[in-house]
């Protein structure tokens, strides 16, 4: 992208403003984020080591408490599981949509976005009604004689993953779809005519080409999953307590020191993931949801 853009940069033919003031274009957004986001956050971090008096006690106590390590591990595991499940659900859907006529694909994409119009909170209670031991699904299974006893679907990891991946699915589908759209169909057809079998074509050609979308979607879903608070609290068991739930609890107790220390730990983990991603795959890939 960088090379291409530099090469075609021909100031004479561009509207003056766009060339003369690239900073002007970036400035409002960046300034807004610096003033109302970065600055308050920085203050919060400073507060975590100075409130009530300057020390690192809360970090020490946070990092020494085995329970908190358990919570951090849970957060990472839940986010990873949610990402995997979402990918599993979204990949075939994105594939199908990208092979459809654009008109229909666009309509179906709107359908994918439909759940967003229902508040996350309401959806949580809908899942409770659906997944409970006497919920709609279990009653149907037991009533039809398929099962003798209701399945434990609610208040466990399963319910948390269902609730979270339901929320994340549209993000993943959109990310995959835009990459898959740019994959040249004739490539696949060519492979077919050259005698390559369908699975071969898929694994050798299609899958590698769709990987940018997979990486971008997974990173997005993984990071958003780490911040989930309402879903694990309402649908999970205590073993599904995540960092965000814990932070909320500490803040309510006015235990800002531990709460913010934990928040800084969370931000550090996510930041590390970003750096890792950048090293392994290049940050450009995340931004380049589309073809690059």
């Amino acid at each position: 992208m960088t090379v291409a853009a530099t090469r075609t940069l021909s100031p004479a033919r561009l509207p003056g403003l766009l060339v003369a003031a690239p900073l002007l274009l970036l400035l409002p957004g960046v300034a807004l984020i610096l003033a109302l986001f970065a600055y308050p956050l920085l203050r919060l971090v400073v507060q975590s080591v100075t409130d009530p008096e300057p020390n690192l006690d809360s970090y020490r106590s946070v990092l020494q408490d085995p329970t908190l390590w358990l919570i951090i591990r849970t957060t990472l595991v839940v986010a990873a599981e949610c990402t995997a499940l979402t990918l599993l659900l979204a990949y075939p859907l994105g594939f199908l949509l990208s092979r459809m006529p654009r008109r229909w694909a666009n309509r179906l994409l709107l359908l994918v976005l439909l759940p967003f119009w229902t508040s996350l909170l309401v959806r949580m209670y809908a899942w409770m009604v659906l997944l409970g031991s006497h919920g709609v699904i279990n009653e149907a299974l037991v009533g039809s004689g398929l099962l003798a006893h209701p399945l434990p679907l609610l208040y466990n990891r399963f319910a948390v993953l269902i609730g979270m991946s339901h929320y994340m699915l549209p993000f993943m589908v959109l990310s995959l779809y835009s990459t898959m759209l740019s994959i040249d169909r004739s490539l696949l057809e060519a492979a077919g005519t050259m005698g390559s079998s369908l699975p071969q074509t898929f694994f050798r050609i299609y899958l590698p080409l769709s990987m940018p979308g997979v990486y971008a979607g997974c990173l997005l879903v993984f990071i958003l999953s780490m911040g989930f608070y309402i879903t694990p609290a309402l649908l999970g068991s205590p073993q599904d307590t995540t960092i965000a739930v814990y932070i909320q609890q500490q803040i309510e107790l006015l235990n800002w020191a531990d709460g913010t220390a934990m928040a800084v730990v969370l931000i550090a983990i996510i930041g590390a993931l970003f750096v890792l991603y950048d090293r392994l795959l290049g940050f450009n890939r995340l931004l380049a949801l589309g073809p690059s």
């Binding site: 919570i71 209670y125 409970g132 309510e252």
Partner: protein, 347 residues
Amino acid sequence: MLNRMLLLAAASLLAFSGMQRARAQSDVVYINSSGGVLDDVFRKVDWDPFTKATGIRVINSAPVDNAKLRAMVLSGNTEWDVTEIDGGDFPRGIKQGLLQKLDLQQLPTKDMVEGSFNDYGVWDGPYSTILTWNTDIWPLTGKHPTSLMDLWNQQDFPGPRCIRKDAIDNIEFGALHAGVPRNGVYPVDQDKAYKELDKLKPNVAVWWTTGAQSVQVLVNRDCVMGTAWNGRPYQLVVRDGAHLGVAWEDAVLHMAWWVIPKGAKHSDAALKLIAFMQDPQRQAASAKESGYAGGNSHDADYLPENVRDFLATTPAHVGVSVSANDEWWDANAVAAERRFTSWVIGQ
């Protein structure tokens, strides 16, 4: 042409956002409480009539948030003139200098229950954490749970339980089950309490986190018995006909308080509003809708028996309850919650 479009867009944007910035006016009071149905009841019973009587508008917000209270007082820009405050947060708020002293002369103190007011606060809605169960399984006419201690009684009342995912109340229940007398619960002997909670844990299917969830799990029949704040089953049973029973023995009684934060911009109007809300008839009317009564000693006179059966302040209930010790909780909350979290997460 683009310029004109931009101008037009900017103008309509400004018109569109025509929200009134609340200015510091003398004829208004900002009150913060739990929100939801409770606020709707307060609005109908107290706040709108108050505006009618005094000309002072009441603007409400929710929810109760101690972190927010602290941040606004420390910043010197106090949004709330009155706020609710619960449990250990009350003594903590006093200690941290977040609250104003009240001029008790302005309150109808002679009609108020002893202990329902002090220098910094007035009872809002005292509430209890009680036992509630499904009456389809154990009808009120037959053998049914009568005490919080029946949480442990799998022999007579088998089935999954739901309790709150919080140390508050649960460690008190644990201590009581270990045989500690009700008046000796504080300071809580946590080692003893957790020995009992260990026995309860295998039967706890749901750890609730919101008031709504505590009764929804019973209505959905995910659990047969659990703990809840008394107003929740009240609203479902009396208003909506749900099949739930309640038991008060060994319940934990909590105080919620109306307080005036330091730096409140309309503290005179705030005190007036608090005084207005002490009227026994109005307190009875709001108890009828919410299941939470106030601190006026006469409000019970206006309440039918089926309502009093659900109130935390009914003397028969107070007599068999433990009163939460806010000072103890203030001093021990962080450590107790940390221990609880470790305990509940541990397999």
